[in-house]
Symmetry: C2
Subunit: 250 residues, 2 copies
């Protein structure tokens, strides 16, 4: 192992986060379908800040403070919320300069869990196919260790998050700045390499979770796999995501 290189590793589900040293590390939270993709999309359409909230009631309370509120459980939009968790609901000029509070079945609860394990001199950023290119630049310029944290599904692994983690490993590996040697990193890389020719088809073939919800989620999944549909870099600052890409004027 080359000691001068940064460490690149994968946490296949937040339930395994305690295994990792997260000092001097950018933790990339990956919830491809759909929280990561939706948050990037909201920033791309001009949102000012996004607060991830694990609890439904707490998310509702932000309504009184002038926030748009987005809520989803088990794929369905929650009663009384402005939006669910479909990225298409966030593609609107109405989002310009708005503050949003969002709660989802899996993604926002994982953000809370992972943020409790944030190390010194570290940062949490959102990663998805839809911000892939700007994310790669951001990660390279940061010059820190990188931990790709897959949100997984109900405490376990998920195929789509593992695939995207594997893609980031392959892409970052080209720059020769990182060591990845863990078995988890290799799991992700190996699965990505089998999926990469047709990721939508692969996911549908492998995952009963998605086959069962194709009519509800099919268009969302297709969008969530679209590379570089946004240029957002959502970074968690004091419990809120802000868009660092936007701040830099890019």
């Amino acid at each position: 192992m080359d000691k001068d290189k940064r460490i690149l590793d994968v946490c296949l589900t937040p339930a395994l986060i305690e295994n990792f040293d997260t000092d001097d590390t950018i933790m990339v939270i990956i919830d491809v379908v759909r929280a990561s993709s939706t948050i990037c999309t909201a920033f791309y359409y001009g949102a000012d800040e996004i607060i991830p909230v694990a609890d439904k009631e707490k998310a509702l309370s932000y309504k009184q403070e002038g926030y748009l509120i987005a809520g989803e459980r088990n794929g369905e939009k929650l009663e009384g919320f402005d939006m669910g968790n479909s990225p298409f609901e966030f593609m609107s000029p109405d989002l310009e300069a708005k503050k949003i509070a969002i709660t989802t079945t899996n993604g926002t609860q994982n953000i809370e869990k992972v943020s409790k394990h944030l190390g010194k001199n570290s940062e949490i950023v959102i990663g998805a196919f839809v911000n892939h290119k700007v994310l790669l630049n951001y990660l390279r310029n940061a010059g820190k260790n990188i931990l790709l944290v897959c949100s997984g599904w109900k405490g376990n692994v998920s195929i789509e998050d593992t695939i995207f983690a594997g893609k980031l490993i392959e892409d970052l590996n080209r720059f020769n700045q990182y060591n990845y040697s863990s078995d988890a990193a290799n799991h992700a890389r190996l699965i990505y390499n089998q999926a990469k020719e047709d990721i939508f088809g692969f996911i549908m073939d492998q995952s009963m979770r998605f086959r069962d919800k194709i009519s509800l989620l099919g268009n969302d999944i297709r969008y969530c796999l679209k590379e570089d549909a946004t240029n957002a870099i959502p970074v968690l600052v004091e419990g809120k995501f802000i868009n660092k890409q936007e701040a830099a004027g890019n």
Copy 2:
């Protein structure tokens, strides 16, 4: 999903065991390199019972009770123990009718963790390449759900255990008696299918853990990947493994 079929799933590391319902389930503990392979080998050479012990001092205390004691930490045999964790140390007529207490870096501690999560009407059995064929028969005849529990490495996943879990899924799938639909099960199956032509070469190529220890562990790893080198079915009964295959006179 066919409701008449049994559930077949994979726990990629014991750290994820809480995710699973383990009632009416055979839990197969997989620690290919080396605890699972070594335990099968000890029974094949006639051992009468094997007590897995997480703690080193407790393992030593069994010496006074007439047990052979086997102890390993980080690949090395422990001072004062009769054997380490190399399966070759267990290939001896001296094992005939002996009781053995064993403690290893990773495997025996995981057995303790997993056995605390044993459900109703359930059982823990040891699985490895070296008992693959008899294990398949045993699992099919049991008519229960199957949870393949990979021991992994230091709380995270390990490539060799994932590969063997994937192999069992492919083999069990031929009998059309099981549903496997989890993303974890697919992770294992996908990685096995990339590795199956040359598992030793694949592991060496993928895992720095093993490349670094090839001089110490190379022969052990080759043996641990040898299918059907034994006919042992180690089953945990009241904290001790006994050999069910032997008891059945097969």
